[in-house]
């Protein structure tokens, strides 16, 4: 079973750890915005009860510097590149997509529509996808928040708006307090919660969206092992992205692939086959 393994956006710097990026099927960049951003003040990370909280705040050099000096260096790594873009209005998304549209190095654009650590755009997720679609012909993956009342309905809407795939899911907003002082442990208070505890939530989103739309899905959320990858494929993902596990173990992509290989010996040979197990025959007959 050949499952593409990516990194979750913001969970690897391919220029400082190219040997790790080289072990991925595609490298997803940290989110880039129209203007440079220094990001949020520290402390930016905390661990609490099996969750990691982060509040980085989209630190990035801006789309112009990214396009002219970062992207060419990434291209030299020889790994397919997905560029994550974000912003604070539909015109921000449009600006980034337009800039990337004629850059061959950017194979896919992932729309970060769900960062819990910065202000949200006033427009709806669907409007942001529409604006992005109008600015580029590149494949667009919509990265959605698990904190969505009806994610299957949202998936249908972003598909109608022109998304070519879904990245499910982003982090959930969380808060950790210092036990001695009861002050928030992160400088800005809340942060995005990730790690294995996010996995069942992400799986539920993938499962629901796989039944709702025909789009390919990148499963993201607490993937720690090959067995977790199989869960995501069974739920309906066609690829997975590694987040928190990369922080704990830069060798995790290779380890997880080895574990997937061993799963083959348990008799799992195709994605369709294991999806049938999770979804029943009705789903399998659609694929």
């Amino acid at each position: 079973m050949n499952v593409p393994v990516l990194n979750a956006s913001g969970c690897l710097d391919a220029l400082t750890a190219p040997e790790v990026a080289a072990t991925l099927d595609a490298f997803v960049t940290k989110t880039v915005t129209p203007l440079p951003r220094e990001g949020n003040p520290p402390p930016r990370i905390a661990e609490v009860d099996g969750w990691m909280l982060n509040s980085i705040g989209l630190q990035n050099p801006g789309i112009e510097v990214f396009s002219t000096s970062v992207l060419p260096r990434l291209q030299d790594l020889g790994v397919p590149l997905w560029v994550s873009v974000g912003g604070f209005s539909s015109s921000d998304y449009k600006t980034c997509c337009e800039r990337l549209d004629d850059l061959d190095a950017a194979q896919v654009i992932e729309l970060n529509l769900s960062c819990p650590n910065v202000d949200e755009a006033p427009e709806t997720v669907v409007e942001l996808v529409q604006a992005s679609r109008s600015a580029t012909s590149k494949p667009l993956y919509a990265k959605l928040s698990p904190a969505t009342p009806d994610i299957a309905e949202l998936a249908r809407s972003v598909a109608d708006a022109g998304a070519n795939g879904l990245s499910l899911v982003n982090t959930l907003r969380g808060l950790a307090l210092d036990q001695a002082t009861l002050r928030p442990r992160l400088a800005l208070g809340t942060g995005g919660a990730s790690g294995p505890a996010l996995r069942p939530i992400a799986l539920a989103c993938v499962y629901a969206c796989a039944n709702a739309v025909e789009l390919p899905i990148v499963g993201i959320g607490g993937v720690m092992s090959g067995a977790d990858v199989i869960d995501f494929i069974a739920a309906g993902a066609s690829a997975v992205a590694l987040g928190t596990v990369l922080f704990a173990d830069p060798l995790s992509p290779a380890r997880i692939r080895d574990e997937l290989e061993r799963a083959r010996s348990r008799g799992y040979s195709s994605a369709v086959e294991i999806r049938r197990l999770a979804h029943g025959l009705a789903f399998a007959s659609r694929t």
Partner: protein
């Protein structure tokens, strides 16, 4: 990953932070109490000790993320880390028993510049951690240590010959008047005070860190209005 040993990259490019680092599962030799601190001794296996002031990411059993620790001592065949058990991660590390094994990644980051003529080591509290290995590399220069209590000051035995003060006295009171090359590690207010008195001092900073190799952007510190990653640019700045 095949087996427990893996070399990360070829080290062919200076931009490859993991170029010289390895990730291995090391066996605990012992965990010794040093005052309220703990000296965690691990079998070295194929790991390099690196430059004093560099750090390692230590798997903390039961925790999602590893914890960054600078190397305290590098006796033959071992790597030893001085910990202060104050949170779930450091308590899990302090509770390790001989023969247990943990994954260790390193050495990482930039250590101290050892090309100094008149070195003086300055440390506060757990900032003592990198000093014994640094002292050895520099041939036992003068050292000044400050602790918050007599019990904490018991850890000074890791650096024989050091001058020791206990609060309310501060280690900065001991800084020499004559020109010297200060290499310091300790709590942020102490480092700020050292920098005030000795602007050219080499300072080893600390920050919450998820990865240790530049992936997460979690460990930034502000330098001249920019946020830089301590794991890549530091921890010695």
């Amino acid at each position: 990953m095949k087996g427990q040993h893996a070399v990360l990259g070829s080290g062919s490019s200076q931009t490859q932070v993991l170029g010289t680092a390895r990730r291995e599962r090391l066996t605990v030799v012992d965990n010794e109490a040093v005052g309220p601190y703990v000296l965690l001794r691990l079998e070295r296996s194929g790991m390099e000790p690196g430059v004093p002031g560099q750090f390692f990411m230590l798997e903390a059993p039961g925790q999602l993320l590893p914890r960054p620790m600078s190397l305290c001592l590098a006796p033959p065949g071992e790597l030893a880390f001085l910990l202060e058990p104050i949170g779930p991660g450091t308590r899990a590390l302090a509770a390790l028993a001989p023969q247990e094994r943990i994954y260790v990644l390193g050495p990482l980051g930039n250590g101290f510049d050892l090309a100094v003529e008149r070195p003086v080591l300055v440390a506060g509290g757990i900032g003592l951690a990198p000093m014994p290995y640094l002292s050895e590399a520099l041939g036992g220069p003068p050292a000044l240590l400050g602790f918050r209590s007599e019990r904490h000051a018991e850890a000074a035995r890791l650096l024989p010959g050091a001058e020791v003060v206990v609060e309310p006295r501060l280690v900065t009171e001991l800084l020499p008047g004559e020109p010297s090359d200060i290499l310091a590690c300790g709590p942020e207010p102490m480092l700020e005070a050292v920098r005030e008195l000795a602007p050219s001092a080499q300072l080893a900073w600390e920050a919450p860190m998820a990865c240790g190799y530049g992936a997460c952007y979690g460990c930034v510190v502000e330098v001249e209005g920019r946020y830089i990653r301590l794991c890549i640019e530091g921890p010695v700045l």
